[in-house]
């Protein structure tokens, strides 16, 4: 049992947000796109920037910086939209840059620690310690489902 875990590997798509590297499981990633024109959606939750056209499918895009409460940054030529699977939906996430695809042994992943990451640790699945840096593994389901919490909070705030 122990050994099986020790031998397991994970394949991650690693992207940058501010000074940190984040990883998501490659099987969840459908597409990586250059920044393109985004159509805003009225009255959408704040971190939902709008929708894009991905080969005929209309896909909502969220700004991960906003979602994580990081300061906004201007788009650069490195800015990418990472399109990931979320249940039956595809959802785009705006990130600063996509740096690499990484294969890591599962046993170097440690439980999330608030000390090591600058974002809310409930978004995290773990932290992979590499020789040269740290990769924060995101809990995509939680990151994306926060949408609902957010929407509810907004409504509550409006009513208050």
């Amino acid at each position: 049992m122990e050994q099986a875990i020790a031998g397991a590997e994970m394949q991650l798509v690693v992207f940058e947000l501010g000074d940190e590297s984040y990883g998501v499981d490659i099987s969840r990633v459908q597409d990586i796109n250059r920044m393109q024109e985004i159509t805003e959606i009225p009255h959408a939750p704040e971190s939902v920037v709008g929708v894009i056209n991905l080969r005929g499918r209309v896909i909502p895009v969220i700004d991960l910086r906003k979602r994580f409460g990081l300061s906004a940054a201007p788009n650069t030529k490195d800015t990418r939209i990472v399109v990931v699977h979320m249940e039956h939906n595809l959802i785009g996430m705006i990130v600063d840059a996509v740096s690499k695809v990484l294969r890591i042994p599962a046993d170097i992943v440690e439980p999330p620690s608030p000390v090591l990451a600058s974002i809310d640790s409930s978004y995290l699945r773990g932290i992979a310690k590499l020789d040269d840096n740290l990769v924060v593994l995101l809990d995509l389901d939680f990151v994306l489902s926060r949408h609902e919490h957010e929407a509810i909070n907004e409504v509550l705030a409006e009513e208050a």
């Binding site: 159509t39 009225p42 009255h43 929708v51 080969r55 005929g56 499918r57 209309v58 909502p60 949408h147």
Partner: protein, 708 residues
Amino acid sequence: MLQFPGMTDDDIKVFLVEADEQLQFLEDGLLALEQSSDDPEVIAQIFRAAHTLKGSSATLGHDKMARLTHSMESALDLVRKSRIEVTSTLMDLLFECLDMLRILNREISTAQDSGADITALNERLLDVIEGVDGQEGAGASTHASARASADESACAGGLAGPGDVKIRVTFTKTCPMPSVRAYQVVDRLSALGSIAFSHPGMDRIEAGDDISDLVVVVEYDGDALEPLIEAARDVSDVESACVLQVGHVGSTRATAAAAAAAAAAVASASVQGEAAARSAAAAGAGGTAARAAATAVAAPRATTVRVDVARLDILSNLVAELVIDRTHLSQVESRLAEKHGGDEVVSELNRTSTHIGRLTTELQEAINKARMFPIDNVFKRFPRMVRDVAQKQGKEVELIIEGEDTELDRSVSEEIGDPLIHLLRNAIGHGIESPAERAKAGKPTRGTVRLSAFHQENYIVIQVADDGRGIDPEAIKASAVRKGIVTEDAAARMSDKDAIGLVFASGLSTAVKADDVSGRGVGMDIVRKNIEKLNGNISIDTVLGRGSTVTVKLPLTLAIIRALLVSLGERIYAVPLNSVREIARVELSDIKTIGGHEAIRLRGDVIPLLRLGDIFDLRDADDSEHASRHGQRVFVVVAACHEGQVGLAVDRLVGEMEIVIKSLGTFVGNVPGVSGVTILGDGRVALIVDVPSLVRRVVEERNGAGEC
């Protein structure tokens, strides 16, 4: 949890599709039988349907359905032989059986035992059958034989087929153990029908003899031969599999009865085989039944394939993408032409791009057509409902259906059923008078409800017309005043036409009491809402004492609509063309402010003016409204739905085009004022304006403001 041992999910699906079809045949037949109780063709149709259901449910292993259909078949056989008469008691019994069959069918589709008990129905059917025996002493043997022959075919499971199919299968020369493969082929085929014969025989196959080809005769009751061939080809090392012969290969079972059953089954299996069924029935009556079977088998088979809608959706999506790319391609091409006009390569590109354009258009049309099917699929469930409702109300109603072959998109036909049910119930409940009342008014006691469908440009028009009492505008007004929908004052000033329009107001019903006919508590307001949700509209014409006609106009497809594209600053919005009344150029000085809200006056009408940027809270940094606010004039798109109209101030009219509606998806959810999005020719995404919701918003907002 119901389980059918040995049946795969696909088997069950196939069963359900067939059962639905047969239940419909049964219902159509019963309704027709009620009209003309001695039409042998109709009786034959009902008998065939019961027979086919019996065969397939026995094969599936659904005992209750097999038993009930078996008794029905026996009773119907006696009807067919004119041994029992078609009475209203018998009709009611058969209708009850049909309802029970639907319940049993649902058991299979949901895999849940409903706990329904067929014993009582079965007993009553047997009583009918026994009754014949009691009446005529000599009838006993007839009855016994009727039962026996029916039993026999039930036992044989899928015996009611086109008979036997002879298949030759050859194996590749390199096949290491052909006998194993042969065994597999026989095994696969036996899942589709029972194996009547094989050469070499099973003993040789099992003994592992070296064989190079195999001939199998399968008793098969499917309506397409492909599954057999596919099953055989599926086995490794099979070089070829082909059908050698269809029909009664084996002579042992070629009794007249079996042949007739075979003819009936194959004919009813496909709609196109209907003609063959008739010829089979005729031939069966005149000549030998075996010949009839041959006729039926030789009849052209339906060349249709059932395709999952999800696959069609994917195709539509891809084609829509292709259309966008084509537009892009021609843009690139014209830019190239500007730069390097006259160049050989450019004109070659031009030719190709024109060709691709034509192909894409045709492809799009073909796929749209593939999604269409006749509205008959919706209409066919109405005769029974009309019959039941009329009976319950003590009214005599004839339902006339016209244009049932009018085609529309599947997505529309799924949505239109419930509103139509309501309109039909209304026509019977509120429109058609009781026979006595009709006689007094000098009308025939039997009322007529006419349900018709036809195409008009890009729309399908469905009308429900009755020759009943019509709608009394004064009664409507009185009711509306009583319910506080309008003031007495307003009612007095109201034109008859506007008063009739009040039937669409929520909370208004002229029915004295909420009875069974008013149904599930939905009113005309819900009907209208549903129709408008489909981008359609609904209107009523009525003549007091003569009847009413409700006209529903719907786009042919929900996926594609014509829209007016308008721009506001950088953003482009699509306004569905069916709600655009007119486009006006309005001087800025003509925009008035009434109670804090902007409005324009257009030929005497005061129209509330909306700015989409404000409503959607979307503005560019440099304020997209600049242009419209500081120019001398603005374009106003007057958009309307039943509840009223609004003017939308826009910067520019981009043009009119067909757009493909896409949903925003569950992640974003519903956005007030937006009914969906679409992808434009340049690949950008544009919001589709939901006119009814905007109008409603304005009505609520401004009424509220007015009262404050």
